[in-house]
Symmetry: C2
Subunit: 347 residues, 2 copies
DNA sequence: TTGTACGCGTTATCAG
DNA sequence: CTGATAACGCGTACAA
């Protein structure tokens, strides 16, 4: 741009208001420490000059960026995007910006360095199950640096890291029990990915509920998935190839459930007529899919908001990161069309 | 955190490598200007100290943040989240971070100030149709500041602003012509929102195609929408209340098409049996919805990548913002189940 | 090829 | 209540 004018600094404002730059700074950050008269003069000068604070200078001086880094495996998944929306909104309310990163599970040290240690972000919102927060913590400890982080995903929370999660295991068990209530005994599970070498919590909940009800776990009905549509379709094909099929399926999340139902339909098997399906998350599509999807609703917006608030509290030392808090939010069973009661004939 | 150690600076590295801080700086930004021997010594020192650059100091000095601001109306919409994914990836490749903002259409001046003028972001990726880029430009001009911005959405591109868009009007007309090819003449449209007082391009394309084919525009079949599911459901109810209904509907985007189909079904009207529906975007769900959705595919990932590249080019002065480029990407007709040919009886 | 020294725009400390 | 001044950590003339 041609007529680029030097953007006004705090000095320019000070000059115009006939005060020192220190006073301007005070008006901006602690107005009560300045007399009413000068305060007004300064504010007028701010308006006149069109002054706006230089974040870089401020960050350099304060050693804080007023920015959060959110990391999620795949923003393209509607599950995360709603969370991101909430995070942005909540962060903005407290004067923080939100930087977003994906696919950075490869070299944690490197991007952690790039963002957190470089005064680009003050804290980390970890929605990425592929990254072990404990590792991060040990890494940070070795480096001797502070690392405010809040984790939120479906693995069991690492004890050392503040976390905000839904009780995945309990919710999964609840989903399975609902299928049982409908009379199903031949129940399968489309599992999510295994991360950090820890068992998937929803799978554990599934097994727990089945065992508690003395129902057999048929290995052929427990299929690996990746929380995505293709995984659901593949699982459907596997089920279609079986001579003995489950009458109900608990899918690890909604995306995979949609894929699963679609895959079944391609093979002439209808949901819920032939197989009942229950999902997990309650994304927007669940309500208008055909059939509408029975699912365990995760309070996604709350997840995002609470995690953001806690992280900012940690950053601003309102909360001590050495004594991590683990917030558990409840999931809710949402009954729709994709599940039906087994009639007496066992069909 | 307790044992917080001072993070190493360029000085610490210099000390250890027995060179001056200037040399370290050079090794980092222009390695070829340093002799091989010292370069190696410095690199070793960087590793040893665990040094990482302080972005704040760098930004202050360079007057650049190496950060992009992406603004979209609603990240929760899967359409945008895929774009965001591409933007992040592309930006990262060129060493830029991505800050995300939403709901900031309220006071453009204010947040523009907060982000762009405060060295938080170097440029603006505008996916928000509710914001007029021309206004932004005039605002920036009045302020006498440079404002690198690339716009991308479904309104006609503002001449002064570099833009990357799909040819919405042509694509809309193509969609409508496809319905005609199937024998439909009673065609309705579920429109998107009107923004910046400019007519919606997809609506124009619809009207264009209808007029060109000498087909009547029935006002009762042209319904207002908002590119979302509830709008689609409401439109379906309106159509259901009619005695004479269209045999085909062109929906402004996929989200609203899903809602529309769902709403019809609730009223006992089936797609495509009773009404054919074509959408716009080709979001992930389109492929597994029931019925799978015929739609105009927008190259979302390309949209994000190209826009990002152009913006960075502008920022780095490889491209002049005073002579804006308008990139138009083609949309592709994806034929699936939600549209069917009208049989001879006219049903 | 390398070193010295200054300034980017803030905030915090210390006097007054 | 206000002003002078010293950092914060980096890049870059300019000099050697």
């Amino acid at each position: 741009m041609v007529l680029t004018r030097k953007t006004p600094t705090i000095q320019d404002v000070a000059l115009r208001a006939q005060v020192s730059s220190a006073t301007v700074s005070r008006v901006l950050s602690a107005p009560e420490r300045v007399s009413e008269k000068t305060r007004e003069r300064v504010n007028a000068a701010v308006r006149d000059t069109g002054y706006s604070i230089n974040q870089a200078a401020r960050s350099l001086r304060m050693k804080t960026a007023r920015t959060l880094l959110m990391v999620a495996p795949n923003i393209g998944n509607p599950f995360y995007s709603v969370i991101l929306d909430a995070v942005i909104d909540e962060a903005q309310k407290r004067g923080y910006g939100v930087l977003v990163g994906t696919n950075i599970g490869l070299d944690p040290g490197r991007w952690l360095t790039d963002y957190l240690l470089s005064t680009r972000a003050d804290g980390l919102l970890l929605f990425h199950g592929g990254l072990d927060p404990e590792d991060l913590h040990t890494f940070a400890r070795e480096e001797g640096i502070s690392l405010p982080v809040v984790a939120s995903y479906d693995e069991p929370p690492a004890p050392l890291v503040t976390s905000v999660v839904t009780d995945n295991r309990a919710a999964a068990a609840r989903a399975v029990r609902y299928l049982m209530q409908l009379g199903h005994t031949k129940i399968g599970h489309l599992a999510g990915p295994v991360r950090n070498n820890r068992p998937n919590e929803r799978l554990l909940g599934f097994e727990e509920a089945m065992t508690a009800a003395n129902l057999p776990l048929n290995p052929a009905w427990i299929l690996p998935g990746n929380y995505d549509q293709p995984g659901g379709i593949a699982a459907a094909r596997a089920i279609l190839a079986l001579t003995e099929r489950p009458t109900a399926m608990f899918c690890g999340n909604d995306e995979s459930a949609f894929g699963f139902i679609h895959g079944l339909r391609e093979g002439g098997v209808e949901c819920p007529r032939d197989i009942s399906v229950i999902g997990f998350d309650d994304v927007g599509q669940a309500e208008i899919y055909h059939p509408t999807l029975t699912t365990m609703r995760q309070p996604r917006e709350d997840l995002g908001r609470v995690a953001t608030r806690r992280l900012i509290d940690i950053i601003e030392k309102r909360e001590t990161p050495t004594d991590p808090v683990h917030v558990v939010l409840p999931a809710e069973l949402i009954i729709r069309e994709s599940t039906r009661a087994l009639d007496s004939s066992g069909r």
